[in-house]
Subunit: 266 residues, 4 copies
């Protein structure tokens, strides 16, 4: 992701056109072209060269703001062909993983790259994400999404089946979002540094039970499973209330840490 | 936070002594000394020089694991004199802020440094946290906690009242956890880059309403308020169920982005 | 609501045609007519005279079950022109109210009669519901819904503004679901027996605060406000998980009890 | 439960002594005796003959209110030797069961009688609860609790193992709160009227899966499982917020309806 150090919108930069209330579009500012919505069109030549954060009127006189996309904008706009992983889950997974700038992380499956984008964002510029995916069409989609966010350099996309093994060693965290995480646990043990984390995201209880059992059988400690619910609020003086609908479930997050197998004498 | 590149426990290193089930102690491995619990004592000389992640027997024959502390361990062990901010909230605030390696962030109040620790962890080594706090005793506590986590170099602790103004400019995010966040909003507008974020954490609805009103009056867009609930699961084949108790509320998280005040003609 | 003592479907009886997965239709079994769905039609003459609970094939060979409607079926099928009150809320309101067979209850506003239906169901045959509503079109709708459920005899629908006063005395509970519940609190004090309950349902925080203040100022004790969240589970061996979407908010439930104004000497 | 028709506290009546904030004691007003708390004592002779809802000063000058106990008070004060079932769950179970005045209900196990108390409250005076329990000490406790609430006449306590069979027929609902609900499902099919409900309450996912499978195999339709979360609010102008702690899980509620086994021709 490009830093906020460049404050001016360049030709072909990605821009988040927001009309407020969290309704927004992630678009590329192509010179000579326009972006059309039901609230009128915006000419990109009107915003190129301007500062990010500048308001711009559409042809139908609605005010848009041309914002620089942030991490969560890239995540939410990742093409949605797969079950989405939400910012609420991604941020908690990053926290549980313990990673940060410089970390080396293995991820599977890549999917459309929402999690990959976040991981690359937080480990750059010295760290690296090794992301496994067996479906080539997803890999191509993830590659496009990573390039859009300017994060492709920090990711190695691997068209491999992680249930057959992990190539890397001395890894700081293994992040799993696939149907059979328990099959990866023994490989994760070999790939991880001692004390490092596995974090797995699964929609069903049955996946969680099998994964936690595999973690316990493979010398991981402090296994813990949580779910995270996020509810929006409508804030207006005299009318404040929680929103009417919410996502009731995306998935359970399970984490544990690798322990050396032999015990020390006291 | 030290990278996981050093895998051996050195003298005076901080160690997380875990006895499983997320029961653990953050201690300093002082040569010649021991750590005493109701499950027996552990001699630090037994673990110094060993790899992080090594199991060790206590004098009463309970197995502890000597883990390298991760970000969330430092957060959870921040001295608890103030209302705690949980990893679930901190991770979502980081996500909403849009920050990453290299970001420059203003925070207030410092408190005991839980949020500061996380911010420093994610912006290091090039970024910087400017953290305002008016109560000196908290500042000293935060300083100790940041040193413990090896993150003090990335933070400037300021003993100043942020409601009177922010010294910094071109900031990537202003993170607020204080009683009167709405008083800081006009200062945040001046301190932030265009398009950059404010994220505020408040326990009461009334604080949220006043803050959202201040954001709307001060040319911020896309104001959004959420709350995040995390529930633990007890995973055991044949007995799997959610945990009995949970934190029902810590605080609401409000975020918005700075917009340039003048509008462009179409 | 008719008891389950009549087990056979009579002409013009209301029937719940269920196709499983909680997809169902509340229809009247009119002789000589049919009910048409996208899964084929069901002839009422095929089910009249049969036992409630009998499966019946549609013209397209889908199996429907002709069930006797229960309280929650009548509630959910109340015409939805107004903000719906859900069975989860209605059942908790009934519990907090303390009412049961024989109770005399004041309610406002009637709306489309979902709450009224439940109250009448639980106080019959000796009890009575006095239900206030200022909008005549709602009152007519509620009357139809109550007749459908066979409960109209236990309800007196009153086309009156309850904020101007309550006619009844020695009431066991006052149940409020209207925009300005705090204006009714002084009237409720007069209408209620000593020790009896007010229960108020409101979507916004601001309504709750004003109502609780009115309760405290008007000699009610034990004021308490809760919200109730219900989440569905998808149960299938190997694929069990919470449902994807849920209602995030319908309203807050506030309850309190009337206290005599003068204190006794010890 | 005695109606609120008697408004005066009689000798040996049960009284809810409340000191506000939902702190209260369920006591018997024995002539000549007193009730002692850390806020002083209350002489029963001071309240006998007074109206329910009367405030009374304790010896230490704290104000108590002598309230008539409501259903939820009796439920909450049921001796707590077993896992408690909360009013939130009990009220939803009653709603799902479809029962009301006059219903005949089978329940197992009785436990300390919290659910039994609610069922008897809602089916009286014509209905009947048949409550199975194999542990005699629980049965005795339930009997005491039912007598306290004035509801023993509407309950037949049976010291029998319901997994071996149900004696009753043409039952309106079978309510289950025991370790092995799936073993009762075939018996419930025989005992229930066509179209009538089973409602089962279980803390673990595994119990739910086995019960839903048994329901599907035994000609029940519309099987549905939910969980209910209740969160309290602290209401005070300028300081309104959700409460800090809540019950994260008590149990899942599963319901389904009996269908006749043979299908009708179209």
């Amino acid at each position: 992701m490009k830093e906020l150090t460049t404050d001016r919108i360049g030709p072909d930069d990605y821009v988040l056109l927001s009309i407020g209330q969290r309704k927004s579009y992630l678009v590329r500012a192509e010179p000579g072209k326009s972006f059309h919505t039901h609230k009128g069109y915006v000419k990109f030549d009107d915003i190129i060269g301007k500062e990010f954060g500048t308001p711009v009127m559409s042809s139908l006189r609605f005010e848009f703001v041309a914002l620089k996309p942030l991490l969560r904008d890239y995540i939410m706009k990742c093409a949605r062909q797969t079950q989405i992983m939400y910012p609420k889950d991604i941020s908690l997974i990053v926290m549980f993983s313990g990673i940060g700038p410089g970390s080396r992380v293995v991820e599977a499956g890549t999917g459309t790259g929402a999690m990959t984008t976040a991981l690359a964002h937080f480990v750059r510029p010295e760290g690296k994400i090794y992301s496994y995916e067996i479906r080539e069409e997803f890999q191509r989609m993830a590659e496009r999404n990573l390039k859009k966010a300017g994060l492709a350099d920090f990711v190695e996309l691997k068209n491999k089946d992680i249930t057959l093994g992990i190539d890397e060693r001395d890894i700081d965290s293994v992040i799993l979002d696939l149907a059979v995480p328990w099959l990866v646990v023994p490989h994760a043990y070999i790939a991880l540094r001692t004390g490092a984390t596995v974090v797995s995201f699964s929609p069903t209880i049955d996946q969680v039970v099998r994964t936690v059992e595999a973690l316990r059988e493979n010398s991981f400690t402090d296994a813990e499973t949580v779910e995270c619910l996020m509810r929006g609020m409508q804030i207006e003086r005299g009318k404040t209330r929680p929103q009417t609908l919410m996502t009731a479930h995306s998935g359970y997050i399970t984490t544990a840490r690798k322990v050396l197998r032999e015990s020390l004498p006291t």
